[in-house]
Subunit: 181 residues, 2 copies
């Protein structure tokens, strides 16, 4: 399964208005606190991988997930292979990685509002210490990557956003001050 | 939290009879399939650690857990620090560790019958390709380790088993043919 995702900086109030005008479904809001880990045996910045423990709070309940993101397989749309599973206890997941020699590199905190429109998930993100962004995202198999990316660009245009302003740097990268790729 | 555990080889039919005679409560049966991982950056055999993904099947339902076991903190009773959390999808946990460079080292499959007696969990294990064993186990804080170990020895004696025959090699070690420590 591949995640196709395009992201641009945006003024979220006006994007939310457009989404309402298009009849997009507002599917929920969450707060996500993501701890990214450095590996003891690889430089994830070099290998373009990420290991994350996410806490997500929704309606007062917090769930935790472990996610591994592999290197880009398609640079244009930030397509990566991704493996993610829920865990019963995020603090224990942190303990396990710490004992294996992984070290917390940074924490990204964001308020996210999710919308559903035209087969895509559209996410309005307020990222602490970074800014406001819109992500347009879907999942596809390997053969569908290009079509899915074009569709995501169409959605951005419908929101009066410019696909050519796509950011390919992760929120983690933006937080850490990485240069735009 | 420390796990105090003593283990001896035993004929399980006669141990089960003794447990019945003592009025121990038979609390359940499971099948556990444990995948142990080698690390890319450490030799767990040297560092005396373990990383495991366990699938446990009980009444037709399978659950998965990730466990990290630290080095022995008390050799006499095999006491270790242990971090364990359930995961929603064991196959994804396997994928995450594989992508991080961890490799499956061995699989241990066992049929386990659990009993509760005198504050201890007593486990009758049929370990595939290894043999039959009884484990007597409890959890304690650091100060309670010695008392808990003596109590486990008492339970073994009540089952007509000899604490001096305690095995300190894990099932993984026995399967891989490690020498008794």
């Amino acid at each position: 399964m591949y995640e196709v995702e395009v992201k641009v900086a945006a003024d979220l109030d006006s994007v939310a208005e457009r989404l309402d005008g298009l009849g997009a479904e507002h599917t929920g809001d969450v707060v996500q606190v993501d701890t990214y880990y450095d590996a003891p045996h690889r430089d994830f910045a070099e290998t373009d991988e990420a290991l994350r423990v996410r806490r997500e709070t929704h309606d007062g309940e917090t769930e935790a997930r472990i996610t591994y993101k592999g290197p880009l397989v398609e640079a244009e749309s930030k397509t990566r292979e991704e493996f993610e599973t829920g865990v019963d206890d995020g603090a224990v997941a942190d303990d396990i990685f710490a004992n294996l020699g992984f070290t917390p590199a940074a924490t990204v905190t964001k308020d996210r509002s999710f919308y559903r429109y035209d087969g895509y998930t559209i996410t309005l993100d307020v990222v602490e210490d970074v800014g406001e962004f819109v992500e347009v995202e879907t999942e596809t198999d390997e053969d569908g990557v290009e079509t899915a990316r074009e569709g995501a660009y169409d959605v951005l245009r419908e929101l009066a956003l410019d696909p050519s302003e796509q950011l390919r740097t992760s929120y983690l990268g933006l937080l850490l001050g990485d240069a735009q790729e």
